[in-house]
């Protein structure tokens, strides 16, 4: 080439750098880096937005929910000895203590001392059933009966809203006066976790709903887990690949996508027709939710089984393991973490479900915690749904508090899922 005379064009060719070192190439390179940076920024933005939304949601819940864990209480000083209420450690802690104290006139005693402590106007705003709280306080500490003591008793919901600067002006004035005297305050209400639904937000609690949720989840787990895992194992390991198994696979995938309320209709039409006496009970609720959870378990179980490397199966078969030994000695232990994670995620979804349970009657007002699988019950999300419908401002706060409890419950279940996955996960 050097021997041939240089045309102007070729001179340019000669003078120019190799193609990867030209200005144009560097410009393209810069453009490639720029588009990578832009893409990264977009991704970061998306994550930032979701974190911001999550923080806003949690902060909102906490701000609204913390007052829901407190309640307005009035200080009432009672002298049991002077009032002539008697008892000892045995009688006050006996199951019949409530009736015995009622016969001794405890309700009237509480009213009289409330009037002395708070004045006539204030005494009217002590919650009417407050003497039961007094009886419970005596059962907790029988020594109180020998002397004079100050008990914090729940205020009426009118006075509670007065304390929040809402409701009638008279109530607000009364609340301000009693608060200034140190006789009205918002106290931590641990009883919220021990009581059940009530007509007054002052007396409402979530133990009934929490227990209902636990019982319902137990039924769901006991039904959905074994059926789901066995179906997944059979479909993946034994079922011949033909049109029927394809049909079953498609059906299961579709089942997982069916709106949950449809499962409620199924529960209503089938379970409640067969067991008409079990309306609103955890067993029917659990059965309905199990229908909803099972496809999720089957799908995640099959994926976990598919993820077990074929080389492990071959190795086991080659030393003479029978198919069932391959499954139980090798496939199942390796697939179990994935199966458990899928199960817990499915259960968490069932825990937050309301729609199907409305249809099978779990939206009833249930004032006592369910004492078994066949007792009427409600569940946490249903309690939230029911309270969010109430007019009384106190219920709004209680609703937020319940949402916090539900979220903690879900967080705990996801935590267990992650723990199990890490504990049993093996590498190969």
């Amino acid at each position: 080439m050097s021997s041939t005379p240089l045309t102007p064009d070729m001179a340019v060719m000669q003078a120019s750098e190799p193609p990867t070192r030209t200005a144009a190439f560097e410009k393209r390179l810069a453009k490639r880096y720029r588009s990578e940076r832009n893409f990264k920024a977009l991704g970061l933005g998306a994550i930032g937005f979701s974190i911001a939304a999550l923080i806003f949601l949690l902060a909102n819940m906490l701000v609204n929910g913390i007052p829901g864990l407190q309640r307005a209480e009035l200080a009432v000083e009672i002298d049991f000895a002077e009032a002539g209420v008697t008892g000892d450690e045995v009688s006050l802690t006996a199951p019949s203590a409530m009736q015995v104290l009622e016969l001794q006139g405890l309700p009237a005693v509480v009213e009289i001392y409330a009037e002395r402590s708070l004045g006539e106007e204030g005494a009217e705003q002590v919650y009417r059933g407050a003497w039961r709280d007094v009886a419970r306080a005596l059962a907790d500490d029988p020594a109180l009966i020998y002397g004079r003591t100050t008990l914090w008793l729940p205020a009426s919901s009118d006075l509670a809203s007065g304390l929040n600067d809402e409701g009638s002006p008279e109530m607000q004035a009364l609340a301000d006066r009693l608060e200034a005297e140190g006789k009205l305050a918002k106290n931590w209400d641990w009883g919220f976790f021990a009581r059940s639904d009530a007509t007054s937000p002052q007396m409402a609690g979530i133990w009934g709903a929490l227990k209902g949720s636990i019982l319902t989840m137990l039924v769901t787990f006991v039904l959905a887990f074994p059926i789901g895992i066995l179906s997944a194992l059979y479909l993946e390991e034994y079922a011949p690949k033909n049109r029927w198994t394809d049909l079953i696979e498609v059906s299961i995938n579709n089942l997982a996508a069916v709106p949950s309320i449809i499962f409620g209709l199924l529960g209503l039409a089938v379970f409640l027709t067969v067991f008409p006496n079990l309306r609103s009970t955890p067993i029917i609720g659990g059965m309905t939710l199990a229908l909803m959870t099972m496809p999720v378990i089957v799908i995640s179980g099959r994926n976990a089984i598919k993820a077990v490397p074929p080389s492990i199966r071959d190795g086991a078969l080659a030393v003479g393991a029978s198919p069932v030994q391959v499954v139980f000695h090798h496939v199942l232990p390796l697939a179990l973490p994935g199966m458990l994670t899928g199960t817990i995620i499915g259960m968490a979804r069932a825990l937050g479900e309301t729609a199907p349970l409305i249809l099978i009657g779990m939206r009833a007002f249930v004032a006592t915690p369910p004492d078994g699988f066949t007792a009427p019950a409600t569940v946490l999300p249903m309690q939230i749904f029911l309270w969010s419908d109430e007019i009384d401002r106190g219920f709004v706060e209680r609703t937020s508090a319940t949402i916090i409890v539900l979220l903690l419950f879900l967080l705990m279940m996801n935590g267990i899922a992650i723990y199990l996955r890490n504990k049993f996960e093996k590498t190969w």
Partner: protein
């Protein structure tokens, strides 16, 4: 069309395959192969990729059963018993014919459990002490005992690639099989680990009938006494390894071993 060298018909053969064909769906992967496998020698299957040598090897312990579309015809007799028969107990067959795979595949369990698994499921050891003996013997035969005797409870997957493959060989011999099939056992290993595996094959030959599939002609020349050359699903030539490599009869064999294709 198949050239079989003299004296290869063996009355004492461990395995006698007759007219074995393997189909994947409609595709014929192995076409009417007949071969006698001697119990005293290492037999190597060589040939270019996709020639069906691994497929044929997997007939000997019926691992092709795990592939739904695979179908095997003909007969393969192990000591006079046709293993392709429906009456053949596959679990028992695989206890008699062990296998080592291309990629080391130890179970994600301890080294001890990897070896003890086979004897345990077949009930070969009554007491823990018997099992300990089997584990030590198998690991010693596989040349791994000295390296792992102090960490038998470590995971088998924590070993190096070469050690894992020797662990898999130890796992195969723990159930005391009659035949060991090896499907390119050294193709995923470095030269030093490969040399160790080859040395091991040498030591094991005579005790077990060994059939090895290999890509490397040098390996076949080093470890085997019998070689079968496969091409396009057919067995082209079968004879003593030295003859196959120095004096092939078939033109295709000559072309392959001189590196003209494959």
């Amino acid at each position: 069309m198949t050239v079989i060298h003299e004296n290869m018909e063996d009355a004492s053969a461990k395995i006698k395959a007759r007219d074995v064909s393997v189909y994947y769906g409609d595709k014929k992967a192995i076409d009417e192969v007949s071969i006698d496998i001697s119990p005293d020698y290492v037999t190597a299957f060589i040939g270019p990729s996709g020639c069906g040598k691994s497929t044929f090897l997997r007939c000997f312990n019926r691992m092709n059963d795990t592939i739904a579309s695979a179908r095997v015809t003909g007969s393969i007799e192990l000591e006079g018993e046709n293993i392709l028969d429906n009456t053949m107990d596959v679990v028992q067959l695989r206890a008699r014919v062990g296998m080592v795979f291309q990629k080391p595949n130890p179970f994600p369990k301890s080294i001890y459990d990897n070896i003890a698994y086979g004897p345990k499921i077949h009930g070969l050891a009554e007491k823990k002490a018997d099992l300990d003996v089997i584990v030590e013997k198998s690991l010693t035969r596989a040349g791994l005992w000295e390296e792992v005797k102090d960490r038998l409870s470590d995971s088998g997957t924590a070993l190096s690639g070469g050690q894992q493959q020797r662990l898999c060989i130890a796992r195969a011999i723990a159930v005391d099989p009659e035949v060991i099939l090896m499907d390119e056992p050294a193709s995923a290993l470095d030269p030093i680990a490969t040399a160790k595996i080859e040395e091991l094959i040498d030591e094991l030959s005579g005790r077990y009938a060994i059939v090895i599939v290999t890509h490397s002609m040098q390996q076949a020349a080093r470890v085997s006494q019998r070689t079968a050359f496969f091409h396009l699903g057919k067995m082209v030539e079968y004879g003593p390894t030295s003859d196959i490599f120095t004096n092939p009869i078939e033109e295709r064999t000559k072309d392959y071993i001189t590196g003209r294709y494959g």
